[in-house]
Amino acid sequence: MLRYAVRRLLFAIPTLLVISFIIFALLDLAPSDPTAQLPLTIPEEVREMIKKSLGLGQPFHIRYLKWLEQFMVNEPLNLIEQYWNIQIGDSESRLRVRSWSTRAPVVDLIADRLPQTLSVVGISYIVAILIAVPIGVVSAYKQYSIFDQLGTFISMVGFSVPTFFTGTVLIVIFSVMLGWLPSIYDTTLEVTDVDSFIAQFKQMIMPVMVLGLFNAAQLSRFMRSSMLDNLNQEYVRTARSKGLSEPVVILVHVLRNSMIPVVTVIALGLPSTFAGAIITEQIFRINGVGQLLIGAIEGADIPTVQTVTFIFAILIVLFNLVADLLYGILDPRIRYD
């Protein structure tokens, strides 16, 4: 298993290099001008000098390799230095990937925004799993019952209605009409006591539920169909013929088998939830990575867009590997040797 994981990680390197090149090339081809938002009174020569100072005077391949060096070598070195509090070489002169609009290192910007995104996305995903698995199990066990029909209907609605709609509806109901919950997520809020915890809890409810229910709708369908596949298997009859009780038959024998494909879906879905969270972050004004990306796209801040997009790509490659490894752990028939 370990050898397989290491091999897969090594294979991920060329994959990610290709992805990084495509991302870089695509954004380079995009007709954007980092000086476009500066006042029109700035003369053309000054604009040229600004562009040169941003590194745009260099040919494409040099810029790509520089970016690669900054992101793949310099930034990890910085992280290592910070984490273990040590000094490797001359950290002052090491170039960092800098945002064109704020001139701050992109990695620092992301590090600032990540906790908000992680707390919303992470908790919403846990909520989604906690809702979806029991609903899927019960819907399959009581197939075509009223509970199942209702579950099917709700998940159809939940899956087909986009988050920007449900989010807005929730804001209208709970913030505007009832005034129970804040419509804007306050990132500066620090949890220090019970009151601030309640405030944090209140502002998280809506984004977490919007994202969580959307994911739960899809996951519960997967869970249901996977359970149905397994409920008709002969080993279920064997388990019953041994005199095991229904809860043991369903929750031990059938659930364990049904979780194999569902866990894969959960692992593969996590990175795309990050991408889906961009919309939710926008609606609830959560100052997360998604907002950073949207702002960078609007402001033609190419380095930020490149870096954030590439981090999403890394997450997808990584969680593909995680899904495969989990598959091997859950299903004894799969061996990676």
């Binding site: 002969e234 080993y235 064997t238 019953r240 013929s241 005199g243 095991l244 088998n257």
Partner: protein, 345 residues
């Protein structure tokens, strides 16, 4: 193995069992009033072609048919003085695995792929016998050894996919035997195995019967297998019991035209080889309605007008021995020995 039936009361007595399946196309009458009994230590074979209701009959005994769509409409299953069909679910679970063991047809799919063989074998031991984990493990190893799996202790931690088909069926048998059941029901246990493995399993079952002395019901569509191991045989057709006799009587003097036709389909080793294998003309009946006439009539060479009007009642052809010898019963209006219709009502 022509055993003489002991005079004690049977351990299993099934009376007028009827099971139907509710489907979208209508009700399927899978078992239509089957009655039989089983004595201690006896091996009863149930033969019949696919769809004749053999499996549903034995599954119904322990309510192992999926309900819904299946429904057991009537019947009585007396086992050890209790009607299994009237037991509450927790009492029924104590009988399942505890007093009656089950072996299913396909060993490839009958075991749970994600649990070790040891785990699946220890489950009933812990549940029914109340053994601790260590005790259950010890007994599980002994059981694997009993069914002839080499280096049993080491193999407890293996998963089903690490066993061959024949070995998996041995594991299934070990699970069924784990709590010393009084009755073992085997539903086509050798059908999915190739002949050499089949012979090994049959040999194992013979050995185990001698050692453990439990009663068995063995379902098969292989008449050769039944001839080799059974004491008595039931022939089923269209959800009905059509003939019942001791093995010797059934093979020596089949009374039902269906049994006769079945036996004629068997290729013979010593006579000259015919160009084509014999078959029974026609299709098995669809079971969409409760039988009101003989279900075999459309395929029967002896069928006459009564067969189309009335479902045959069961006739005992050898006088119903009072001394404990096995009666030979047949559900047919045609007396095959006389070559004429039966005259009784």
């Amino acid at each position: 193995m022509d055993s003489v039936t002991p005079s004690t009361a049977p351990i299993l007595e099934v009376t007028d069992l009827r099971t139907v399946f509710g489907t979208r196309e209508g009700t399927v009458h899978a078992v239509n009033g089957v009655s039989f009994h089983l004595h201690e230590g006896e091996l009863l074979g149930i033969v019949g072609e696919s769809g004749s209701g053999k499996s549903v009959t034995v599954m119904s005994l322990l309510k192992l048919v999926p309900m819904p769509p299946a429904e057991i409409v009537s019947g009585r299953v007396m086992f050890n003085g209790r009607d299994l069909l009237k037991l509450g679910s927790s009492d029924l679970r104590r009988v399942r695995g505890g007093e009656i063991g089950f072996v299913f047809q396909d060993p490839m799919t009958s075991l749970n792929p994600v649990f070790t063989v040891g785990y699946q074998l220890m489950e009933p031991l812990q549940k029914h016998l109340g053994l601790s984990k260590a005790e259950a493990r010890k007994r599980a190893a002994a059981l694997l050894d009993l069914v002839g799996i080499p280096s049993a202790v080491d193999r407890l931690d293996d998963y089903p996919h690490q066993f061959s088909g024949g070995m998996r069926q041995r594991v299934m048998i070990a699970i069924a035997l784990s709590c010393d059941p009084k009755l073992l029901i085997a539903d086509e246990p050798t059908t999915a195995l190739d002949v050499t493995i089949q012979a090994q399993i049959l040999e194992l079952v013979r050995k185990l019967r001698q050692e453990l002395g439990m009663a068995m019901i063995w379902i098969t569509h292989d008449l050769g297998v039944v001839a080799g191991i059974a004491d008595r045989v039931i022939v089923m057709y269209g959800g009905l019991l059509v003939e019942h006799a001791s093995v010797r009587d059934l093979y020596g003097n089949p009374q039902h035209p269906y049994t006769r036709a079945l036996l004629e389909t068997l290729p013979s080793l010593d006579s000259t080889r015919s160009k084509r294998l014999k078959t029974i003309f026609g299709q098995p009946p669809s079971l969409v309605a409760e039988p009101t006439s003989c279900p075999f009539a459309p395929r029967c060479q002896f069928a006459f007008d009564r067969c189309w009007k009335e479902n045959p009642s069961i006739h005992t052809t050898n006088g119903g021995w009072a001394d404990g010898r096995v009666s030979h019963d047949v559900a047919c209006w045609w007396d095959i020995d006389q070559g004429a219709p039966r005259d009784d009502g």
